[in-house]
Symmetry: C2
Subunit: 976 residues, 2 copies
């Protein structure tokens, strides 16, 4: 907002147009419209400002204005310090030029020095006073506090009304005013026109509604009868004054001709609407994007297309290929990437903390915190089941808190949220089963796998291996994140459906036959049960036992209501669906018309929190025994016979320490893919991150945490896509609109470490928050999960393209890619993506879920194959262009070309040239096959091992055995 | 759509712009844009039509076009029968004028006779064929079926491609084409321009994409290098050609100067957007309303306001006062109004039947039918309770069917739906209690009241008393209908809350302690129960009895689950809320982008039916015992000891036959107000009804039905506001948009008698539909009720104004009244309305509900008082002006003034003149007081009777007694 930020040297101009009015027998100037960038007009009877709108002018008025400037007097660089003096000078010049007779001087000066009445905003005092009075008459009778008459037009200091005007903050600080005065008088027989530029911008008392110094004055007085025409001329000059081009001319004009030339230049650029297709009375809303003097070529590429026929595509820019470039350069030095990451992130470290102090952070913390603990509890419970409580909810909480805090403190991209993920869970499950079956100590084996994996991560870090994700284009990214979103959505729904299974509804229930429903605990036969029991069961009052106790003591539940639970399933559904829909509605509230913008934004930011509160409240009100969030309250390992530290030696044979290298390889690949693809999604260009990313640094810390968590027997953590997207979404910043009517722009994300740290510290402290947290019903949290999944789908181009299938062509939104790529090719591209996702979904539903992130490599291969199916032109619009060996050179050329604005040559040969699968494709395919083979291509039963370099001890064979069971039949036959 | 409907004699023009392209080494003309009213352009790579948009031109191109017309050759009224001949003539003229050398003739003719390739819509055949091929290259290799090359440019008959083009139906039948051909060639060194008007519109082979005869040709060929500029000139002439003003000029021009003058005229009218405030690349959506050559003054009044400053309000039209006028004239003759009604409605009678044959009618019938039977059942049940089943559900069904069918067959406004209403219900309740207490035969008394009331209705009809509703302005109307809507909403919600009371939820239920919940029937002590019973209770197996049986036989229900009913309350809520929200969402579906317009409209029309089906399905799936819709299945009176005919004499003393005149008066007022206000709402100007209304005729039939229903012992019926509004809403028609981009306009309502008749016939047949209807759960129907209430609120200005309270001024929508009336006065007006409604609501909640419609008179009095608080100017915008004695004369003056477009004089005196309450106010106040007094102002305990003319028999005193209990304390003390 400071003048330093402006590129153009001329100040912004604020224009106010006042018209001469007879009010109660007195003449006065009344503000009728104002311009910062767009026009705001005083409504006739509404005593209100209209909405800012684009000034629609008539060509006629512009030509009349041109005539006015040709015939009127032009005073450039007038030395002016007060309005009377300036008026004096103006009138004298007119007399000198022979435009008016000398005897009119007094009359004109009198008119020009009348008071100015401005339209200010709050007419609240009056509303009660004037009940029963006609507004027409009351203006005469009372001094109207709603409209401040500046009595001190002569004084140089701004009046208190001017200073109090809140509109001031909408005007840039360096602004200067231009005042347009339009009036009809009875003593003139031809128009009196004067255009004045002051040598110095001067505050001329109450001339302007805000204390902005005046630089320009345009005066048009004329004989009666042409008010409409005069007003239009006034609007025309006012619109010209706020136009970037003309205001520049106005500041620099040396004489009348320069001004006229400026008008002509303006006329040359205007946009004309045919009168038959547009009603001039419609106020045009300000556009979302206004052409700025510094043209952003990329944005142009997204918005162009209206010019030239089908043949005139020369000015259409191809979308600029997305560039991870700088941050993912293959340095060639050992650890070069890591070093660059640290160098890049370190200068931001302080701002990473203090940028977090904002109200929005609170909502983000609450939202993500709830997501994290729900996740921790869910995964904790599942892990507990899978590992006989070696890792349980307690470990999950502790691990989440530890890993998250460390990562947010030191990671390269602190917006990423670490969490347990599905593939890791499946791996743990298999590993535990394998250990149990082979009498191997699970925790020790796991520790060694973790250590190996950590080392492998370090290797990947120092070798700049994250370079590979340059091949991850929008196709891969969106495929992956859509899939994760679908999993979130389906999990949330599955859990909800689970409630109906867990709390079965008695469908045949007839309220009248309530007497027939009971459930009784029947004592077992003496003979059967006496074996187990230490105390006398016959003493027990069986009818007093609860369901669990009954089962525990060997009783039998008899009755037709035993297996039903009333109300809970339906209540859970109401809580689940209610939370979801309330969150969605409140999120949209930002775009409603109600309440001031700030309050609306607050409601929208806190929508999830408010929904949770509302439905927790409803749940408490109903008092039903819905399943609640239960966090552990005591700080001790879930399983009694394990401590907080896992010892590395002693329990397993020594060769296991080496052999665990192989499963570690799988874990490393899992982690690498899962982590880096989430990072790519978070670092997406659309998010406008400014502090850079740190792929290598991220991976480094994930590796470190692997080792630490393995030592402490905690679960392993990796970036969670959906929660990270939710984190980003909850921290998005928009510009406060400056000029009235300008649309707020998405500025970027509040990049900082504070929210992440707070989330994980809170997660750690949840053990103490248990008394509060226990009021939150689980269905409410599942509702939040559903929302997260659905929300992360929005804004994904893939999802938009799927929707296109259901829309007839003429109703489709005006996406830029639709203007450039034939619809059927868009559909084909989408279809390929859908098929890929369907295949992944099916694989995911099998045990192959363990290699799920590896399958992303498959997506990348498919993307490479798309180069053969689609032209580079289409792909550039639908996806990004894959990097090329000789890309660097080309890109430089391209940049040069763009500067010259010459069209990019796109010949058939070039396109064909790209078709031959490059070295990269071969590389990718080989990598993918190796990975698949290393997992699957071992056939212990036939004793054939593909890669002889691998040692095959008995134990390893057993391990392979496990892996082999995961191998898809197709690959099994393919493999060796 | 026929040419006869057009006012302007010149045909509509369809413009096609083709540009010259080198395609595969060959020259051809390719369609690049077309205009019916708005521009549609062929997207560069999308091979699709852009959305229709307003053509934004540059001023530059318009001036260049002007130059072109000045220098090029103009051939007016050329005799042309084929393209080659026309091209010959054009080139010859150019050579003759010395514009081109003669040796270019062949080259130019060659270029101009190249094939024309049009953009047709369905490129489906290609989508699979070209996988793996570059679209760029395939155009060369294959003939592209997507774009039809018209090989028969020379032939005179339209090609099959042209005939198959579906776009034809978007073009008016009388349309003529203008073809714009723009191309670059290498043999010219200065532009070749030709403007041709043919003497007769001729189909020139494949020149145009549709078989529309060509009238105009504009050809611009020029040297290479200025494609952009040429294209812009082409767009300029094309836009001019579809402009109403210029096309008129083009048809009538006698020479070049006329055309130039036409361009200048166009230039004078254009709207100019400043380049700094608008990006020319943004496509402007067609406006909702396009200025037509025949200006609608009223619409102008609603849309104006952008011109002139605060002072320039001369061109702002006041809204035209709403005119019931014609139909509600006080004829002065006996039964004159009724006669006029019949004369007005009779000619429409046939169309009233056949206009009903439309798919929309089916959805309307289903919707209203469900509303009606729900209403019949609800009111039937309540009436049954109130009258000890003298009138029950069966009577309610029969009465609804009878009264509805008769009214829809013969009524003045068949869109009105008759139904039982609240005030009548309360009246019946009081009457029954009174009869029982005084040993009077209820049915006979009711018959006489009905007969008296019928007579009184006839009196009102013949005296043209419906005239009074001229005083019912928007204020009264909207107040009443809002109130009725609120009652609907609150009733629906109350019923829902009732479900929670009727099916109490066991809140403390712990699933684990299911064993502790039971409900047993305990046999009563022998001593107590033996008194009642005829058979041996000890033989009874008490534990086998149902709840009802247990209570019936005097048993006691013991247990902690007896008073709870599981699941049903929550399930009811889900059904209720689900039906409501699904209906709302589906209704909105019309505005989504998915599916073709027709399907969307169908979904929107059938939204209620589909929601009901969906939730009936869900309910069946869950199989819970939710309360269902039960209709009577046997055709017999609900109470055994009454027949279908009530005898008028014999049971009560004779003087009752006369005395029932007094209660009949109240009933008459109830009915009159309730009926006529609903009729006013239905006949609202906004509904654009074309077949006129029939207030007198309506009242006549309501009177007849009163008598008939009284004789048959059926409930009395009167117009039901909310259901009638729903009926109207479900029959709204919109125009199919003709020119692409034109908004569909609301055309009016499908006015017919068929839907109403069907609804009531179905209601009568419901007795046979019981097996189907019994699947519908009541909560679903309450959801429909809620929707009806909420839907009837939308579109009410009062409701929009209430919402304004919550909006900051700058976010408020651009309502016309906000442009003209200060916000605080708008708020004040709304506040008065809110207070009125609150008072009415409170009164309604007491026993005063019986005089509820009478209170509308109170609203009218309040409205009259508002004349003192608000200026006529404000009221004209917020409400309507009340009719005045000397209104007629003024209105005539006003009409004349409007024709002259002179401003309406609005002086202080006139405003003040209106302030003195006129005779009407006095009249209204007197009527209101009389009504209040006649109800309340009798104090039997003090033996003072205000109106001595009233006879006071003992029985009447007793009746007064009842009335007196309804009198608000304030009025009691006020009265005498």
């Amino acid at each position: 907002k400071t003048p330093l930020n402006l590129i153009t040297p001329t100040p912004t101009i604020f224009t106010e147009m006042d018209t001469l009015q007879h009010e109660g027998g007195e003449l006065e100037w009344k503000e009728s419209a104002r311009w910062v960038k767009f026009e705001e007009k005083v409504e006739e009877g509404g005593e209100r400002w209209s909405k800012p709108h684009v000034s629609t002018l008539t060509l006629h008025s512009l030509f009349e204005l041109r005539t006015c400037l040709q015939t009127g007097s032009i005073l450039l660089d007038l030395e002016g310090y007060s309005l009377p003096q300036i008026v004096d000078d103006i009138v004298d010049r007119q007399i000198a030029d022979g435009l008016i007779p000398a005897d009119l001087k007094e009359k004109i000066s009198f008119v020009l020095l009348r008071k100015h009445r401005h339209q200010t905003k709050k007419p609240i005092h009056r509303s009660l006073a004037d009940i029963g009075k006609k507004p027409v008459s009351c203006c005469v009778l009372f001094v109207d506090p709603a409209q401040s008459r500046s009595m001190n037009d002569i004084s140089d200091t701004p009046s208190s009304d001017q200073l109090k005007n809140k509109f001031m903050k909408k005007i840039p600080r360096d602004a200067e005013a231009s005042n347009v005065l339009i009036g009809e008088v009875d003593f003139l027989d031809k128009p009196f026109v004067s255009f004045v530029r002051l040598a110095q911008a001067t505050t001329l008392g109450g001339l302007t509604e805000v204390p902005v110094p005046t630089r320009f004055l345009f005066i048009l007085l004329g004989p009666h009868g042409k008010t409409k025409s005069y007003n239009e001329i006034g609007r025309a000059i006012a619109t010209l004054m706020v136009d970037d081009l003309f205001s520049d001319v106005a500041y620099k004009a040396r004489d009348r001709e320069d001004l006229i030339a400026g008008v002509d230049e303006f006329l040359d650029e205007v946009i004309v609407l045919p009168p038959g297709e547009w009603d001039p009375k419609i106020r045009i809303e300000p556009p979302k994007k206004v052409p700025s003097s510094v043209l952003n070529l990329n944005e142009l590429g997204q918005m162009n297309g209206s010019a030239g026929g089908a043949g005139g595509g020369e000015d259409e820019e191809m979308p600029v290929p997305h560039e991870l470039g700088e941050e993912l350069k293959f340095t060639g030095r050992i650890g070069g990437g890591l070093w660059l990451d640290i160098k890049r992130k370190l200068p931001w470290y302080c701002s990473d903390i203090y940028d977090g102090f904002h109200i929005q952070s609170i909502s983000a913390v609450l939202f993500i915190y709830l997501g994290c603990i729900t996740n921790a509890i869910t995964f904790g419970g599942l892990l507990g089941d899978a590992t006989d409580n070696y890792q349980g909810v307690m470990e999950s909480f502790l691990g989440t808190a530890l890993a998250g805090t460390v990562f947010c403190l030191f990671g390269g991209q602190p917006l990423i949220i670490l969490s347990s993920t599905g593939p890791i869970l499946i791996f743990e499950k298999l590993l535990y089963e394998f250990s149990k079956n082979n009498d191997i100590d699970y925790m020790e084996l796991r520790l060694w796998i973790g250590l190996h994996s950590c080392l492998q991560c370090f290797l990947l870090v120092v070798s700049d291996a994250s370079y590979i994700i340059k091949y991850m284009t929008r196709f891969t990214e969106e495929g992956f994140s859509s899939l994760i979103s679908f999993i979130f959505i389906s999990d949330a729904i599955k859990k909800m459906v689970g409630a109906f299974k867990y709390y079965p509804i008695n469908r045949g229930f007839k309220p009248d036959y309530i007497t027939a429903y009971k459930c009784e605990c029947i004592a077992p036969d003496q003979g059967e049960s006496s074996v187990l029991c230490m105390f006398n069961l016959t003493d027990l009052d069986w009818s007093q036992l609860s369901k669990k106790e009954c089962v525990k003591y060997g009783g039998t539940l008899v009755g037709n209501s035993c297996k039903y639970v009333p109300d809970l399933a339906l209540m859970s559904f109401i809580l689940f669906f209610g939370t979801y829909s309330m969150t969605v509605s409140l999120k949209k509230f930002k775009f409603s018309r109600y309440f001031p913008t700030k309050l609306r934004k607050l409601i929208s930011d806190f929508s999830i929190f408010m929904s949770i509160m509302a439905f927790v409240g409803l749940d408490m009100l109903m008092g039903l025994d819905t399943p609640k969030l239960i966090v552990p309250t005591e700080f001790k390992p879930t399983r009694a016979n394990r401590g907080w530290i896992v010892m590395p030696f002693g329990k397993n044979p020594w060769w296991w320490y080496l052999a665990s290298f192989v499963p570690a390889l799988l874990v490393t690949i899992l982690i690498f893919m899962d982590q880096q693809i989430s990072a790519v999604i978070v670092n997406r260009k659309e998010n406008k991150l400014k502090k850079g990313c740190g792929y290598h640094l991220d991976l480094f810390w994930v590796g470190v945490l692997m080792a630490v968590c393995s030592f402490m027997g905690l679960p392993w953590y990796v970036a969670a896509t959906v929660i990270s997207i939710a984190h980003i979404d909850s921290l998005k910043m928009e510009s406060e609109s400056s000029a009235p009517g300008e649309q707020p722009q998405f500025l970027g994300v509040r990049e900082q470490r504070l929210t992440g740290i707070l989330v994980f510290v809170l997660t750690g402290l949840s053990i103490f928050l248990a008394p509060i947290l226990q009021f939150i019903p689980m269905p409410v949290l599942y509702g939040v999960f559903l929302y997260m999944g659905v929300a992360s789908l929005s804004g994904i181009q893939f999802w938009e393209r799927i929707k296109l299938y259901l829309m007839p062509a003429k109703h489709q939104p005006d996406f830029s890619f639709l203007r450039h790529v034939p619809l059927r090719r868009v559909h084909l591209f989408t279809l390929v993506q859908i098929i890929c996702l369907a295949v992944l979904w099916i694989l995911k539903s099998t045990f192959l879920a363990i290699i799920f992130p590896v399958m992303i490599l498959g997506l990348m291969v498919v993307r490479k194959l798309l180069d053969v199916m689609f032209s580079q032109h289409d792909l550039a619009w639908l996806d990004d262009i894959l990097p090329d060996k000789d890309k660097k050179k080309k890109e430089d050329d391209k940049k040069k070309m763009k500067e010259k604005k010459t069209p990019e040559p796109e010949s058939d040969e070039e396109v064909r040239g790209n078709e031959t699968p490059g070295l990269e494709t071969v590389f990718l395919v080989v990598v993918y096959l190796i990975v698949c083979q290393s997992i699957c291509c071992v056939a212990p039963d036939t004793n054939t091992v593909c890669f002889s370099s691998l040692s095959h001890s008995v134990a390893e064979k057993a391990l392979y055995n496990t892996y082999y069971s995961l191998c898809p039949p197709a690959l099994q036959s393919l493999s060796c």
